[in-house]
Symmetry: C2
């Protein structure tokens, strides 16, 4: 029962929508509605959900709260995931401030930067450290997920340190390829590639 990346991606987006529905006290939603949200068909949505062994209700659709909890359980999203960010430039601080992460099950427990000045100047409730302490803090605090928002030249080195510290996954905002061992989950968010992906389909 291994899930395809496509399925996981769709489920993650549906999960976000379920949170929204739950907040608005909506109790049921149909596969068709989800399909609209993630840009696919109702068949696919039902296949995705059923591939996780989860079910809905005839003529009512899926129970929002129940499905959210079950998906969270299945995808290990219900627990809070300790996260850190490396690189406190504009993008890094923007992400650091992205208030909804905590609601969304990600607990930002540390920030890192190579500039002591920047660390001193920064104004955030999250503890910030010089990058020299990265590996230790990641270990001490059992941080599972690292976000990289450093300049391209530093990205690989930071990734190596995060991995040595023991993170299981990396979200990479720098526009360069990072090499990671097989067991580490890597996902790239390359703004320029994204803009090109849009422009190429005009």
């Amino acid at each position: 029962m291994s899930l395809s990346n496509n399925t996981i991606e769709r489920i993650c987006r549906i999960y976000g929508y379920l949170e929204y529905l739950e907040k608005n006290n909506i109790e049921y939603a149909s596969s068709k509605e989800f399909a609209g949200i993630v840009g696919t068909t109702d068949y696919s949505v039902r296949k995705d959900i059923s591939s996780l062994g989860l079910t809905g209700f005839s003529r009512r659709g899926y129970a929002v709260k129940l499905l959210k909890d079950q998906l969270g359980e299945k995808l290990k999203l219900s627990r809070t995931i300790k996260t850190c960010i490396v690189g406190l430039g504009k993008l890094g601080t923007a992400i650091l401030d992205y208030e909804s992460f905590r609601d969304d099950g990600f607990n930002m427990v540390a920030g890192f930067d190579s500039s002591i000045n920047k660390i001193e100047r920064i104004h955030t409730p999250i503890e910030v450290f010089p990058v020299g302490q990265l590996e230790d803090i990641v270990k001490q605090r059992s941080i599972e997920l690292g976000i990289i928002a450093v300049p391209p030249v530093a990205a690989q080195d930071i990734a190596d340190k995060l991995i040595k510290g023991g993170v299981k996954g990396i979200l990479n905002f720098s526009p360069v390829r990072i090499a990671v061992p097989e067991e580490i989950v890597l996902h790239n968010m390359d703004f320029t590639a994204a803009l090109r992906f849009v422009a190429a389909r005009f």
Copy 2:
């Protein structure tokens, strides 16, 4: 000869890598090397490139400069694409400042925000306007691509205005679903969904 989204996405990432190689005066690169960069196989890379009618050289690989130019031509990435950003909060200004866009063929020609205060305070070489002028400026300046970095509640309204102004594509950083007509290219960059996508695969 319609290209799949997967192919386009891979090609966009290869294109970025070709720019890097070109800057470093590297003349040839193999399908295997590209495969490493985009996380696929050499077969797939060759299929992708050949599906665009482009070819490499036996025993040498692909000619960096030539391939970059040809891909740029095929995917319409070689011309400069006029772009604007809406929402000048932390994330918006971080993106606005992302210096490499210009190099990468995207010309940021305007920024918009709903807060007059923010517009007055902001310090950037890019012209900024109140959001009331969005549609007009987009029309006047023939802006083709709009980046949305506004709070969720405003996202759909901004998208509608961008589309009325005549953009062909939208890159949406807000974590909500936006409805757009078929002919408009939409791509979402949802940070929370991305974090979940990583965590779900731990």
